[in-house]
Amino acid sequence: MVIDLQNFTPYASLIGGVMIGLAALLLMLTHGRVMGVSGILGGLVMPAGKGDMAWRVMFVIGMLAGPFAVIHLLGRPVEIVPAASGMLLPVAGFIVGIGTAVGSGCTSGHGICGLARLSPRSTVAVATFMATGLATVYLVRHVL
């Protein structure tokens, strides 16, 4: 293992992580909802009822706007370099969607929220998606 010191951003990542954790906390405190993005989006594509839509839409609007506030405060753009191109990207998107629906959660719901509640189910989910994520990047970058 070689540590990538050039791209290592411990402070920005830690502060960003705390912001994400606080957002999860505030969503539970104010609305009693788990901040799981796949679940929030799932309720938009397969609506459960009329009164269940508005809070999801408002949260997503905030998610879209948030990065612009950070870019404004930093005074520079956020670096975004694609990891995949061509057909791989939509295929990856579809797998992420179906996987998080079947597994009932993603990095936010199982990760930030489930681990904070010490949920055994979420711990298994996080260990599983970390393992297959590591294996996938290993295969793509070092084998194929």
């Binding site: 070689v2 540590i3 990538d4 791209n7 990542s13 502060i15 992580g17 912001m19 994400i20 957002a23 906390l25 539970m28 405190l29 609305h31 799981g36 993005v37 799932g42 594509v45 397969m46 408002m58 949260f59 997503v60 905030g62 879209l64 706007a65 948030g66 990065p67 950070v70 956020v78 670096e79 975004i80 370099v81 694609p82 990891a83 791989l88 990207l89 998107g93 797998i95 992420v96 969607g97 179906i98 996987g99 079947v102 597994g103 993603c106 990095t107 990760g111 930030i112 904070a116 509640r117 010490l118 298994v124 996080v126 599983t128 393992a131 297959t132 590591l134 996938t136 990047v137 793509v140």
Partner: protein
């Protein structure tokens, strides 16, 4: 109205955190998952900071009778499913494969939409399609705990 504004602000805090942390950058995510190459450990700090911040406050929040804005008898809607079953494993395993391939998980796929429209939009649309298909495949009560009345 206050409810809606608070939701937008909380969503923005989340989206801003994703942007600051580096989670919106697929190549940084891939660098974190590249444990056997040149490894960028930054995103472990994102998960660590997020989980610790959330868990410290979680106990305080749970000591309340209910959420601040929720009307009526709606309490805290915590997941009720506790089975560690094949669905959890297969779904999470698939998610990890897609995350490794594209470098985007659901939150960043949405929060980067207006920053890099082309690529992120295609990924996000297919992700929403996958979410719909996944929900249809598994339409049981455990599939959508948050949607139960």
């Amino acid at each position: 109205m206050t409810r809606h504004i608070s939701l937008i602000l909380i969503g923005a805090l989340f989206g801003g955190g994703l942007a600051l942390s580096g989670m919106l950058n697929p190549s940084k995510v891939a660098g974190f998952l590249d444990l056997f190459g040149i490894w960028d450990p930054s995103l472990a700090f994102v998960m660590g900071g997020g989980v610790v911040a959330n868990s410290i406050g979680h106990r305080l929040v749970m000591s309340r009778a209910g959420p601040v804005f929720t009307a009526g008898n709606e309490g805290f809607r915590l997941p009720t499913a506790n089975a560690i079953d094949s669905r959890l494993i297969i779904g999470s395993a698939l998610f990890g494969i897609g995350w490794g391939l594209g470098g985007l998980c659901p939150g960043p796929a949405i929060s980067s939409l207006l920053l890099v429209p082309g690529d992120a939009l295609l990924f996000a649309l297919m992700m929403l399609a996958g979410l719909a298909v996944g929900r249809m495949l598994t339409s049981g009560p455990a599939a959508r705990p948050a949607a139960q009345p």
